[in-house]
Symmetry: C2
Subunit: 199 residues, 2 copies
Amino acid sequence: MAYNIVPLNELINQFEKLPGIGRKTAQRLAFYMLSQPAERSKAFADALVGAKEKIHFCSVCQSLTDRPICSICSDSTRDKSTICVVEEPRDVMAFERTREYKGLYHVLHGALSPLDGIGPEQLKIRELMARLSDPAVKEIILATNLTVEGEATASHISRLVKPLGIRTTRLAYGIPVGGDLEYADEKTLLCALEGRNEI
Amino acid sequence: MAYNIVPLNELINQFEKLPGIGRKTAQRLAFYMLSQPAERSKAFADALVGAKEKIHFCSVCQSLTDRPICSICSDSTRDKSTICVVEEPRDVMAFERTREYKGLYHVLHGALSPLDGIGPEQLKIRELMARLSDPAVKEIILATNLTVEGEATASHISRLVKPLGIRTTRLAYGIPVGGDLEYADEKTLLCALEGRNEI
């Protein structure tokens, strides 16, 4: 086609590579960025490169941080007896939003999925086991997702941790707060039934 | 909140400023970019800055280009007797996708909207009038959107152009190809009725 603006196409292609962004949305976003002042593009570009350059895994919990050890692991007020094991760094953020959990975290960076070639050595399980040599650790909360992969990961870690005499727990699964029984799927309803409590 | 990674928040904020991207999607996109190799972030950043630096308005048609005069205006095979007037550069791309229109374009960069402070002097109307001094121009196709603003813009330009003895036309509005009568809104149906043709 005659009307081919290379730098524009390059920008559209970059937007299109993002998950959940199709061609039309990518075009809309590219035209939007062109309509903005140059400082906006510069700030966005700096944020992209800066985030990638400055953020790395915390050497203790493997979550994301821009310091050698993340702000949670280096916070002396946190409860060092409990480690909440999650799949992804964003799960840490979800827990932190509750403002209630005061223990530590460990990010696995995925879940066991043999079909995708993800075995125990692809996850940060060795790093977790190394942390358990600290006698302060009394409980491991397995907060992986309630998927086949998440469940498999939880039971794998549970088998490794139990012989050490450390308590392992799993999150409660059930009807979400504000949820409607009518719209709950069978698996969730079954979990809610199995995990029922005396009132 | 204790868990505050400044470079990550900066990236999330940049994504969130894009139109149609909410906080959750911005977080998802930021985490996605962090999970990608550094070259991806670098390429995206370069595309953002490069597009803004290299792309400017064509000095003739005011569309976007990375050359002094865009590839359409400088193409000697295009029909110089017809100028299609559109609101935005993306409208040029839409016409070019038809691969049928062989005339030239003129991009207004908006439509008349007195409430938003957009009058004739905020649009590229002066640049359009300057092009009409070329005796080769025989027809102006007013392809602004069928909105109050688009219609007002079309009739304003039509009033300016008609005294010059140049033909002014408006796009046909009606049922889109493949469209269902049942789902057509009243305005579209009315346009289709008024613009009916002998068969």
